[in-house]
Structure formats: C-alpha cells, structure tokens
Subunit: 234 residues, 2 copies
Amino acid sequence: MKTAALPTEDQIDVSTQYIRDSIRDAIVDRRLAPGTKLSEADVGALFNVSRTLVRGALQALSYEGLVNVEKNRGAFVAYPSPEEARQIFATRRLIEPGILREAAKHMGPSHFQHLRQLLMEEGRLMGERGQTARRAEIKASGDFHLMLASMTGNAVMQRFMDELVARSSLVIALYGQSAISSCGHQEHQDIVTAIERGDLDRACHLMIHHIDHIEADLDMRENKSSDLREAFKL
Amino acid sequence: MKTAALPTEDQIDVSTQYIRDSIRDAIVDRRLAPGTKLSEADVGALFNVSRTLVRGALQALSYEGLVNVEKNRGAFVAYPSPEEARQIFATRRLIEPGILREAAKHMGPSHFQHLRQLLMEEGRLMGERGQTARRAEIKASGDFHLMLASMTGNAVMQRFMDELVARSSLVIALYGQSAISSCGHQEHQDIVTAIERGDLDRACHLMIHHIDHIEADLDMRENKSSDLREAFKL
DNA sequence: TTTGGTGAAATTGTATACGATCGACTAAGC
DNA sequence: GCTTAGTCGATCGTATACAATTTCACCAAA
C-alpha cells in the first residue's frame, strides 16, 4: 500500500507536500535512522527540486517533532530522548481514552467492519517475519489508533493523534525490543470488542493498559553515543 | 506587557520567529480581523524582510490553524467555522481535565502563588472597560489555561494547549458576546481553590463546565458577509 | 602525540529573479 | 444589455544567487 500514488511516469508533481510525506514515511518506517542529517542540497537532488521546497518540508517535519532543525547546522532526523518518549506516551494516555469515547458516539456497523478489517491485516502481518514485516506491523498498529481518531469526526483531535502516533513510531523504532509487540494485537481486538459491547469504561481501561504495555516494552536506558552529543550541545 | 521585547533601536533581529509571533499576537489580539489577506509582499515590506521569511512565518501559522493558505491565492487570517469552533472546544474538554490532574501532581506552593497572581491581574483587567481591556482579558483568560499546561512539565501537552488556546482566542474574538465573559474569572478561582484543597474530581468538573460556559457564551449562528465568501469559494 | 589555530570547502540563511496562475477589467458578440 | 472571451496586472511558486556561518583538514608548536 503505497502512501503516495505513483503516476505512470516519474515526472510527478513533486511538491513540498510530497517530499514531506516521503521523508516522514521513511522516518516512521525506520528507513532513515534517528540522528541522520538531512542536508537540503542532498534531499533536493534526490527529488530533483531546489532547496526552497526541501526547506519547507523540513520545517513542517520539525513542527511535527520528527525532525530537529538546528540553526546554521541543518536538519536531523529526531532522536527523541527517553524523557521526550515518556511525555509522548503520557499525552497519549491522557487523550486516547477521550478519543475512544468520542469515537464510540459516532460508530455504526460499517465502522466496526473497517476496524475488524484493519485488525485482520494486522494479524496477518504478525505471522510473517523479517524487517519489512515488522515495519508494516508497527505501522498497522499505529493505524488502529489513527482510525479511532478519525472516527471522532474531529479534525483537531485527528491531527494531534497523527503527530503522537508518528512520534511514537519513531520512539518504538528507537527503543523497541523486537520481541513482545505481538501482544498489542490482541489488545486492539479486545478494545474493539469492548466498544462493540458498549462497555466504554472497560474499553478505556484496556486502552490505557495497552499504552502502558507499549511503553513498558521499550528499553530506554541512556545509551548510544548520540546522548553525549545532545548533552553537551544543550 | 509587550510580547516581543523592543531593543532601543528598531533594527531588531527580525527573523521568521519574530514575524510569526508578531502576526500571531495580532491575530489573537484581534488587531487583525479574520479573513484579512496577509500578502507576502506587504508583510515583508512591513518588517523589512524578503518574502522568503514571510512565507516561513505564514506556513508555520497555517500549521497552528491561525492562518489559511490557499494555493496561488495567498494567506488569510483564519475564519474558523462554527464547526471548527465546536471541534476546538470539544478537544479542550477532552484534554484539559487530564492536564489539570497532571499539573496537580507537580504543583507546590510557589505554583499556587503564580496562579493566584495571574488571577489577580485577570480580576484587575475585568474592572476596566474598553476594547484594549477586553483584549487583555481574553489573553489573560487563556494564560490561565496555558499556565496549568506548563505545570505538567510535558512539552507535548503544552504545545497542544498553545494551539488550542490561540485558536480559541480567535473564535472568541469572532463569535464572543462581550457581556458575560466575566463569569470565567470566578470559575478560574474556583478551580484553583479546588486543586489547592486536593479535590481534583471537583476541579475537573469545574473545568469542564468552565469550557462549556465559554462555548455557550458564543453566538455562532451562520452570519456575516465572509461566510458567503467561504461558501462560494469552496 | 597532542593541542591550537588558520583557511578553504561545504552548508545554511536570506534575498532576488523569473515563470506560472489567478482575478479583474475591457471589449466584442449575441 | 447581458454574456463571454481575451488581455493585463498582481501575487504566488520555485529556482537561483550571494552572504554568513560552520565544519574540517592541515600545519605548526608545545
């Protein structure tokens, strides 16, 4: 499932939007490692556009928290600190139960169908092995939360969740332990079931624990070389 | 209380950041009416910078929802529809109780002092009359919520609240009925008191009703000339 | 070998130039 | 007189040029 539609030839309308989405996908998919420098000239050459458009894309990504722009030094794929990660998940715990309740108000049979379909796909991916499958799994896991957000019909909430999920994906890619993420799938299913039964209290409860589990599966010990860099640059 | 410090001479370091803040303040303060066109050349001339920097500022403001950028037509001060306004307040109802609880965890005596001080200032402004005082009142009212958000120590939540408060100010400026906003002040005080007593359930309850009241005080009937404009432009 | 400084190369910050698009006005035709 | 087509001006989209800053390699001195 490509994120950007490819016309027959490669002379697409390569706009800022397209570049932004491409880079974001690459970051969330972990094809771009955290800390990677995104040189304006290099990226521009890659997409055959001038630095102007690249700058716009990088600025947008910096607003989303996926890229850090340092004055006179350039843009880098974000390297979220453990503290940042903690804050992201704290925020999710804070708003996702509310989103769930709000979404439940607007959900009809077709919505449940969509959710179930997504969960099937998610389950299928879990069966597979390999780097690609794991990436797809992380993505699918995020899509579940995004779909719930979209069902609120509230564009503001949706945008907040977009950002939170993207940054979470980055954090998971960084600190995730490959092993246990499979339990998340069952939790998604349980949440949908609880909503379907009208037991929203239980659904919220499950959601919070689900987020707890995601966070607990991370190994966020201070590590790597880059931490020193961060420490002294600030 | 100036928002941007003015050095002795007017040859300040006029960067994108400065332009963005200036425009945002002007929008939130209602010195720029919703729907106003923000021509890149004009704004640039005003700040003595090129269109490049202005574009950056306008793009950032468009992420915040304070400005709408229409392709090949230009940037306009946002004119939030009633539906948008509804979504903004729905989102606030969803996250502010959580912010309140989170903030309460970190609050010590000095924090309460700061809050009380802000409330005093707010009360003082309420006594005065006139356009300027009303603007300051709207701003102070927002600052209360922002201060709570800052006390969570969570940068993500803080940023979300920044955006929500700014957009709320715009909505209030647009649809607000000048009369009744004074009751908000008492509600702020009641909320602080409840937190101070450790009665967080009550504080959350008060907060939600407070937001309800703000929204109820708006007159969001479809109106004005600009709505027609919007209607036909889309 | 390490430390410190200097200069060139690379990269970003900002301004400007030019092509593209949109809107308004005018004029011609019905 | 109203509609419609065409041109002109203004404004935006993108690329490029130039200035400012950083980075890095190289060399000299301790």
